[in-house]
Amino acid sequence: MAKTNRIAAAVLGAALLGSVAAPAIAGPLSMDRFTEVTGLSLSDRQVTSLWNSMVSMGTTQFLGGSLGSFRLDEASMIAGAATLGVTEFDNFLRTGSLSSVVNGLGSLLTQRMTAAAGADLSHLVGSFTSGGGLVKGASESFASLTSVGGASEASGSCDPEIGDKLAESGEAYVKNVVETAMSEQYGFSQLGGLGHGTSGGGGAKFGFSALSCLDKLFQGANVDILFKPPSLANLTNMLQSWTCDKAVSVAQQIAGAFGDGNVFKTGNLGGFFPQLTFGEANTAAPIRNLAEGASPSQLFGSDFASVNVKSNGEIKISARLGDLFK
């Protein structure tokens, strides 16, 4: 566990090194860029409305907080809220659970959020927090809007030796995550602290300490040097749909499917499936078939039977409610 935290801290530290605040272009130009890189066509009024709603809900307490090596800023939160709907995005940040099961939603969400990061929408939302991180999408998308030394330097163009070290620690990190997840003492939901207390920007961090599965989601989707194996993308795809405390079983599935950590050492071979070309043609693991023709409980056991219900989800009301709807 301590080893996991050390590695995670090192990786996170390196990531945050590259996410130094940088001046960015504000105003309509930034909004145009936001639209271009996210594919979201939002009017100024919609952006303002989304932001005001997040302020009302308290979602903005997460502003400046970190998800793994990714740091939330206004633009990334707008992108997330526009993708999920503002209340579901709030739930997502608080619980790590996505209620929607749209194929590829986790990837789309992280792609949009990381691509949007760095856009200065302060003319619409009233503030600008430097966001992003060692994230391909974010840094590349807004490279033209940031100065040298900003997010553009974090686009992976680091010293090869450092890159190797990161990849090495990333593989170790993956191995440790799986080992820890398989232990009875610890689970993904207890691996808090990966992003805890490391971010600036004045945002509240406590919410993230319990959301380490979100760390995986973001790291897996974007920090390629850490999560080269496609199987880990599968893991994060699972995490998008299942509540954090269920992720242990997912990890067990994956570990069971792939055996020991040696399977991750495929970098020199081009990855697991170097000839991935035709849709599903080259994918293998049964885990991928999450929603095709079988119930989750059939695929993953009875532990997943209650996956779509939060443990504390009961509504504390209201015989009265039933009366009203009669």
């Binding site: 779509n308 219900v309 009301i317």
Partner: protein, 282 residues
């Protein structure tokens, strides 16, 4: 390879029961022979997929989905890793030779029965009927049509009840619903999905719904003096209650941007039973 009109015309029909709305459709006949026409293309496109599954049986057939006298290839892969629920519901794909001179997968689903609807003229695409569901051509691939269940009709939730019902959608929703001028609202229905009382609630409002996930939905079940969420999800457009039931509760069909999700009862709550969406063209 591509112009195989005569073969297409000669495709026979299997005696498979089809839903009434698909009576004009012709079941696709598949040939397990290694020498079947189109098999070499399937072997090339799915080389690795086939190689990774020892003992896999590949069945191929030709269809003319465009009505232009040229063939598309249907392939079914029969293997324990390719089939779902029963041995006959196996991964089935349709390959189309596109204008860019490459083979593209335009349909990719576990399927038991597959039939081709009548073509309505040259350069129009025939509908597919797959296990009773109609698939229509959308831009570059086949997409499933809705209508697999009974559409739910919603009514507005009274304003003074909205805060209570918002609790089912999380604390953020409760705060928004409590605002003097709320930006979200709710609508409800009382569908008959099984024993007990149920409320199906859908959130509305410009900020409530996401792209592409749609609008948040909850199904609540009365449990003594409380209402317990037994389904959490989101829908694009309508919600349907399927005639199919699992352990006494009917499936709920939620819309997605390009298809739908079937939510099935697992004993404690609803979970994803099946996602029916078009193939992502690569």
């Amino acid at each position: 390879m591509r112009t195989i009109a005569a073969t297409v015309a000669a495709i026979g029909a299997l005696a498979v029961a089809l839903p009434s709305y698909a009576q004009d459709a012709t079941p696709v006949r598949l040939d397990p022979s290694p020498d079947a026409r189109g098999r070499n293309v399937v072997n090339a496109v799915f080389r690795d997929y086939i190689a990774q599954r020892i003992g896999i049986q590949v069945e191929t057939g030709l269809v003319d989905i465009e009505g232009n006298g040229t063939a598309e290839i249907v392939a079914r892969f029969v293997h324990s890793e390719s089939c779902r629920e029963k041995a006959s519901r196996c991964r089935t794909v349709i390959l189309r030779y596109g204008p860019d001179k490459t083979w593209k997968i335009v349909f990719d689903r576990p399927a038991d029965t597959i039939a081709l609807g009548k073509n309505r003229g040259a350069w129009t695409f025939s509908d597919l009927y797959v296990d009773g569901v109609r698939w229509t051509w959308k831009n570059v691939a086949y997409a499933p049509s809705r209508g697999v269940g009974e559409k739910v009709t919603f009514s507005p939730v009274p304003r003074d009840t909205a805060v209570a019902i918002a609790a089912a959608f999380g604390q953020g929703a409760t705060k928004l619903a409590s605002a003097p001028d709320p930006v979200i609202s709710f609508e409800f229905a009382r569908p008959k999905v099984g024993p007990g009382e149920h409320l199906l609630v859908r959130m509305k409002g410009e900020v409530a719904c996401g792209d592409p996930v749609g609008c948040p939905v909850r199904l609540l079940e009365k449990d003594g003096s409380t209402w317990r969420p037994i389904l959490e999800g989101a829908t694009v457009g309508d919600v349907e209650v399927s005639k199919v039931s699992r352990e006494g509760r009917n499936d709920i069909v939620l819309g997605t941007k390009h298809g739908y999700v079937v939510m099935g009862w697992s004993g404690k709550s609803y979970g994803v039973a099946e996602v029916v969406e078009p193939t992502a063209i690569k």
